[in-house]
Structure formats: structure tokens, C-alpha cells
Subunit: 491 residues, 2 copies
């Protein structure tokens, strides 16, 4: 398979798909809409998981695990939730197979039909609130701060690796509180945790905001979101945190005895990010040479490649490299010395470039003589000759610089792609030609939102949290508006 | 809910179920055979996962993720595998629900029927070897050392929390090799990793051995197992590692070009442990007071409880305890200071005893005066007054002692419950009265094995790896035998 990627400028979507496969991140399985996450892709996801899990625990959450299969009837208990989640779902109807008459294969045993069909969880509010009914009696049981790492299934018709797959991996936090205020604070806190993770670890700038009613999670009173901007000018919803009010407590009859001795319904939140973040990470930083990874999420931060002709040269290089490896490891830097003789240095250079390893060191006989190393940065594709003395400190600083540089580059792109617009023709022109977020007045009605979506494919990505109030007129209907909102075409 | 447990001597099975629920480890969900793993139980599982994952990575394995749903036809490709795994399975037949005519609930949409039914994975050999066909072309692609952490589903008729549930969590390693020898070495290596984990982390002695043909994994040429003994004298298969020969490579047509330029079928292994280990851990060490945890897997290793009447006493105690907490944390010991005023000390003592926290410290005003602490061990239920000076070192040693003591206690129980028997009447008597492993001669035929199972419910747990050869006669048939094997009743 050729390692050359289609250029982003030629076909962004094709570039993305090729990159995901060729960099060893994921591939389509033989089963419609379901992907295989390959070892290198999974290693990145593990780094994301580890960091997020740490942040969840630091904010007082514990992990637990709830059943994969949810009885069909659970979905009908929350009126909006059923419309949002019980439609395109994988349905288990039988629990046994039997040999076919010819003995050559298996078929569904019609006598093993479930009394009630089970749905593979598309999200777990219903099964979790069914459980919380048993766990919550008194204010002493609150708050209940639980997270689950799990696979979920939504029968998507058009799928793309990481961005939209029938099965995906995610975490879903589900918390229960004694007061509205506390639940809202929790939903906001988790939004900030997501924002912090996106910006400081993924080096991906995000806009924090609230969704319009139309774009809200089915069953939520408010949905908070972090929205990122991809290099093709499309927005990507990267994480959501929902204030669920008392909707699920009422649907599953979960009440608690308050300090004052009253029986009250419990307040709820839920929040999640998924393997979709892998798509966001890839599309935020990568280039026509392949993946570009922020050092904080790179499974391999530094790769070292020996350049030699004779076996004795390799020995001398390896002796020196061993010292470098130990120094870097002592600083907590993950480093790989690739001395395999299966491939030539040029092949290896391309391979690690494709895989987005942030820093590449090359060491040859001349470097040994001069006490130097060639240091190549993946983000800028620049090279430098650097003295071996003090190399560990140099690399440590360089990794920090790369992390910052990636964030700044992405932020600068994002910032120059937020366009204020007051006229609908201009709105359409900006969406088509420049892309990115468009900040425009909206009259606040779902009808207008729908009309704009029909005419342009753009949706309201969010109403930013720190949005200034500003008198204006809806660009389409001319009706009065109190603030601008952010529109964009999106994934 | 009363915290008092049924005694083991009264009803071992009831004791187990009560302990699992009351200690906050797991509970039955509303869905048949599926459990909810509660936060405290999940925290123990996470410690197991972290340690196992570390050991897998140290032996060169990488994690990946494969689809949850497997097309029915994949199972028919390996003749034995289909019998073992494609029977009691959850079958997805539809991918959409629709509103019922009255609009009040949802029903399966008959037009959304899958062309081919999908099975929720009971184990992933088939989907993984379908994938490996794309990944393996040449000897350069081998060995392929992959592990997956995942949920799996087997439609068990009789379920018990952790020990046998329809859905369970596990890891499954799937490796591909160029030679038989290398694959056998891998299967054996992973058996030793499991044994090491069981003995050094779970403090659970295990016998390593090979399964008889009857008890082999469906599709394996050899199944290696670690077998533990529970306090009721029943054996528990705790982990298995399979040498799969070329069976799956042939079923999925996975060949590689060898160094010599020949096309050959790939050799395979698979190996797994599951949340069943939670059941093994509980039943190996716990007592009538509740859970007993080996320190290495305890989410909380030390709990500190203040004993006070007045608020100012609590303040003075807390000031001292803060120092202790910091000293213990500096040694990597996980410690919880429970100064909540919701419950009295006596309630807390019982609670942490039930939850198996290895060491409990109590600090009262008199301790402050004397510069002492009361230290209670969960394993022996003994108490001691210990000087605060040097407490961190004392606790560190104590945790090691507890870890060792639990292992020695379990080993001594296990060793006194391996009984050599040469007569079938004695065999039955030992099984019924003493329990444990019975070491007896067997003529090597599946027929005799089956007969013994029918007559006694005992099965061959394994042929130990280091089994000495010894001439003898099968205790039932009198036919010649070359070695003793281990029988037991089992979970």
C-alpha cells in the first residue's frame, strides 16, 4: 500500500480516511458501520482515557458498570428520550441459535424468543436511573457521582471512522443531586473539565456554550457543549454535558428524603465524550504528510533512528543512544529506539512522520564524532543539529514548545474563522467560501433555525457561555434578537 | 438493610450473595442474568485491570478494539467453535424501533430486519481472525501480540454475581505466530503471567495445568488453566490460555510468506481472565464479617477513624491525622480519613470491616496524649496500640505482612485439601465430606471422565504442569494409567 496521502486541498474527506487507515489508527471491519481500532489508534485513546479518568476522579467521581442491554420499555418512560434514542437501535430478539437441518451452519432458534426485546445501549440514562431508584433513599446518598467507560451502539446510516460509527467507545457520567443548583453546577463543572482536556491535552481550542432547544440532548433541560473547528472549516461537537432537571427521576420515580424530611425528586446530569475525539484530534493538527500529535497524547514522544552502514557503527551508535534513552525516560518522556534492520532509515522517517511522532532523532557516525544529534520536529517539519550534552533538557523543552505551538496554530486558525455577519446573503457566502463559525443574530425560534438549516446546512453550534448581550435583528426574518449565536456547518 | 451476614457454615452460597451486595461490590440489575458492578466493586476490578495490563505490556502486547457484533456465519467457519459458542448467544435481528399505533410505546420495526443476524460476541476469535487476514501477509508482520479489554455475552441459564453472568467484563489476548513452538511458548507464558498475578496480587494460590480434551476451549489444541480452591472446597477455574494451533488461521484463511518464501498458515493463541476473578478473590479470603482484601488490590488500604465527643477534640485529632495521611501517601499507601459526622465510630468500624479495608486506625484524645494509635488488622481481626513515631514504616510492613499472611493461609488450606485417592468409594467420600482437589488415576478416556462426572459431579480440573509420571490404575475402570490428575467439584 502506498504511503502517499491524498492532499487535503484535493479531497479533505479522502485525506482523512486514508490517514486514519495508513497511520494504523482504525479501519472498517467486515460489519457495516463498525470499526476496528488498531493498536496505535487505541494507544492514543488510552492516553486520552487515562487523563480524563484522572480528571473525573479529581472531581470526586467513581467508575461503575451497568448492563449493555436495556429492555425496550425503559425507553418509553421518558417521553423525549424515546424519540431521540429508541429508533435507530440494535435490537436483541432471541437468545439461542441451533444447527441447521444440514448441520452445516447455525440459524436462530425460533423457540428462544425473548418476551421483551432488549436494546443495545445507545446511552445509559434509563438503565442507570432504574438502578439509582435502589441506591437513593435519603439526602445522605447524595450527591451520587458515577462515571462509566463503555461501548454504545447507534445504528447510523452514514458512518465514518471515529467520527460516526455504529459502535463507539465513550464515557458517560451520570450524577444525582439534591438541588437544581448543585446539578447545574455539576453540568457546568464537567463542561469545563472537557474544555480543559481539549485545550491543554489535545491542544484543540474549543468554544464552550449552550445548545439551542432543537440541538439539545433528548431528555435534557440544557445541553452544554464544547465546539471545535476542523481544518476544512466545519465545526465538530466534541463533548456535551447535560442538565437533566428532574426528568429521569420522574420517569423512574427516584425520590429522596431531604434534610427537612420531605420526599423530593432527584436532580440529574449526564455528560460524555467518545472516540469521536480521535477524529477531532486527527483533523485539528494533521497535515499532508500524515498525523500530527500533541506530545501529551503521543504514545511515542521521541523516536531515535540510527544511520549506519556497518555493524560496528550500529554498535557504537547504540551505546550512545542507550544513554540518551535512559536520560529521556528519567524525565518521563516515552522514547522508542528503532534499530530494526527490516527497513531503511528513509522508510522509517516516512513511517514515523505518518504516525505523528512529535520528535525524531537521527544519529550517525558523524554525530558520534561531533557529539551531536539531528533533531526533527513533526509539527514544523524543521531539522536542527543539537549537541548531545544537555539533550534531555532540550527535548523536554521542545516537547512543551510543540504542545504550545500546536495549540496556538489551531487557535489562530479558529480565531480567524469566526466571522460576524448581519446579512443572510453574506452568511451564505461566508459559509460557502470561507467556512468556520459565523456569529449572527437569531430571533430565538426553532422555526427560523430550521429554515436556516434547510437553506444552508448550517446549524446553531452553540450560544457561547460568555456571550455579550447585543440588540440586533435576525438576519433572515428581521425579527428582534438579543444576542449573536454561532452557526456553522458541522460533522 | 441489616449489615449482618449469613455465616459461611450455615449457607455458603447465601453468605456469598449477601456479601457481594452488602459490601457494595455488585447487584442484580432488572435484566435477567446481568449485573451492575457498583463503584466499590469496580474500583477493585480497576486495580486488577491496571496490574494485568501492565504485565501484558511488559510482555510485549498492545491493546486494540474489535466490533461487539459478529455475523452469525463467522461462527460456522470453525467446526468445534460453533458448537461451543454459537448456541446460547444474544442475537441481534433488527436495527430499528418505531412508535406503536397508539403512540405510547415502541415496537420492533419489521421492515428493519438484518439480512444476516449478528451475535453479541461470546469471545472474539472469529472477528479477530477475520481482521488478521488483512493484517498478516509476511513473517515481518509476526508475531502479532494483541489484547482487548471488552464486555462479552453468554446467555447462561443459571447466573451468580461475578461467577457466572450473561454479560461480563474481561480481557482476551489474541496472538499470531510464525511457528508452533512460538505459539505454544506464548500460551505458556501467559499462563505464568496469570499465575503470577493470582498468587502475588490476589494472594490466591493456583495450580497450573492442562485441561483434558473434554474441558478444552472449543477450537483449541490445548487449554492451559489456573485452578484455585474456594473455602467451600470447590475449585474455580480462574484463567485460561489456549494454544489454537492453525485452526483459526485455516478457518479464516490467514497465511503468511515465510522467510524461506513459502506460504504457511499462521499459529495462534488466545487467553483471558474476567470479572469472575472478583468472585475468586471474594471467596478465597473473606469471612463471616465480610470482605477481606489483599492490600495490593484494596482501593483503600488504610482507613482512619477519629474517636471524639467534642468538636475541639476532632480538630486536634484531625491536625495529627493530617500528618499521618501525608506520611502514608508519601509511601504510596492509599488512605482514607473518614471524619464524616453522619455515622458513629462503631458503625464505621463495621462498615470498613464489611468492605475489607486491610488496616484500620482509630485515633482518640487519649492517643494524642500518649502519642499512640490503635491499629486493627482486617485479616486477623487483632488490635494493637502502636506509637505514632515511625507509624508509616510500621504500616508499610504490616501491609506486606497481611498480603503474605493471606496467601499463606489460603495456601495452607489448599494444600491440606489435595487428597490422594486410589479407590472410587473413597473418592466419593472425600468429595462429599472433605471437598477440595482429589488426585487420582484416570485411564485417559473421555468416556470414563464423563462417567465420573455423572456419578459425582466432579470434573478433571487439570493435569498439573509438573505432574510426575506414575504407574497406576484408573479408580473406576481399573484400566492402566500413567499419571494422576486433579478432580474436583467446581464453580
Amino acid at each position: 500500500m502506498s504511503k502517499k496521502l491524498t492532499k487535503r486541498s484535493e479531497d479533505y474527506s479522502k485525506w482523512y480516511n486514508e490517514l486514519v487507515v495508513k497511520a494504523g489508527l482504525a479501519e472498517n471491519s467486515g460489519i457495516r458501520g463498525m470499526m476496528v481500532i488498531k493498536p496505535y489508534g487505541y494507544a492514543i485513546w488510552e492516553k486520552m482515557q487515562a487523563q480524563l479518568d484522572k480528571m473525573f476522579k479529581e472531581t470526586g467521581h467513581q467508575n461503575a458498570y451497568f448492563p449493555l442491554l436495556i429492555p425496550k420499555s425503559y425507553f418509553s418512560k421518558e417521553a423525549k428520550h424515546v424519540d431521540g434514542f429508541a429508533k435507530e437501535a440494535a435490537v436483541v430478539t432471541h437468545y439461542r441459535l441451533r444447527a441447521t437441518a444440514d448441520g452445516k451452519s447455525v440459524e436462530v432458534d425460533p423457540t428462544a424468543k425473548l418476551e421483551e426485546e432488549l436494546i443495545i445501549r445507545p446511552t445509559s440514562e434509563t438503565i442507570i436511573w432504574d438502578t439509582y431508584k435502589r441506591w437513593i433513599q435519603s439526602y445522605r446518598d447524595l450527591p451520587l457521582l458515577v462515571n462509566q467507560w463503555a461501548n454504545v451502539m447507534r445504528w447510523e446510516m452514514r458512518t465514518r471512522l471515529f467520527l460516526r460509527t455504529a459502535e463507539f467507545l465513550w464515557q458517560e457520567g451520570h450524577t444525582a443531586h439534591a438541588t437544581r443548583q448543585e446539578a447545574v453546577a455539576e453540568a457546568e463543572q464537567m463542561l469545563h473539565v472537557y474544555g480543559d482536556f481539549a485545550e491543554n491535552f489535545m491542544a484543540m481550542p474549543v468554544i464552550k456554550g449552550v445548545k439551542s432547544e432543537t440541538e439539545r440532548f433528548a431528555g435534557a433541560e440544557d445541553t452544554y457543549t464544547i465546539e471545535a473547528l476542523m481544518q476544512d472549516g466545519k465545526a465538530l461537537q466534541s463533548g456535551t454535558s447535560h442538565f437533566l432537571g428532574q426528568n429521569f427521576a420522574k420517569a423512574f420515580d427516584v425520590k429522596f428524603l431531604s434534610k427537612e424530611g420531605k420526599l423530593e425528586y432527584v436532580w440529574a446530569t449526564s455528560w460524555g465524550v467518545s472516540t469521536r475525539l480521535m477524529g477531532a484530534l486527527i483533523m485539528t493538527h494533521s497535515d499532508d504528510h500524515g498525523l500530527v500529535l500533541p506530545p501529551k497524547l503521543a504514545p511515542i514522544q521521541v523516536v531515535i533512528i540510527p544511520i549506519y552502514r556497518k555493524e560496528e557503527q550500529l554498535k557504537a551508535i547504540t551505546a550512545k543512544v542507550d544513554t540518551i534513552v535512559n536520560q529521556l525516560k528519567a524525565k518521563g518522556i516515552s522514547v522508542k529506539y528503532d534499530d530494526s534492520d527490516n527497513y531503511k532509515p528513509g522508510w522509517k522517517f516516512n513511517e514515523y512522520e505518518l504516525k505523528g511522532v512529535p520528535v525524531r532523532l537521527a544519529v550517525g557516525p558523524r554525530d558520534l564524532e561531533n557529539g551531536t544529534v539531528e533533531v526533527a520536529r513533526r509539527d514544523t517539519l524543521t531539522k536542527e543539529i543539537v549537541p548531545m550534552a544537555g539533550l534531555d533538557v532540550y527535548i523536554e523543552n521542545l516537547l512543551n514548545q510543540i504542545q504550545e505551538n500546536l495549540f496556538e496554530k489551531a487557535r489562530s486558525y479558529r480565531d480567524t474563522h469566526i466571522t460576524k455577519v448581519d446579512d443572510f446573503e453574506e452568511f451564505k457566502a461566508v459559509l460557502d467560501q470561507k467556512g468556520g463559525f459565523v456569529s449572527a443574530h437569531w430571533d430565538g425560534t426553532p422555526e427560523t433555525e430550521e429554515k436556516i438549516k434547510d437553506l444552508t446546512k448550517a446549524t446553531i453550534r452553540c450560544i457561547p457561555l460568555d456571550n455579550p448581550l447585543e440588540e440586533g435583528k435576525d438576519m433572515l426574518t428581521g425579527k428582534p434578537s438579543k444576542q449573536r449565536v454561532l452557526f456553522a456547518k458541522s460533522y
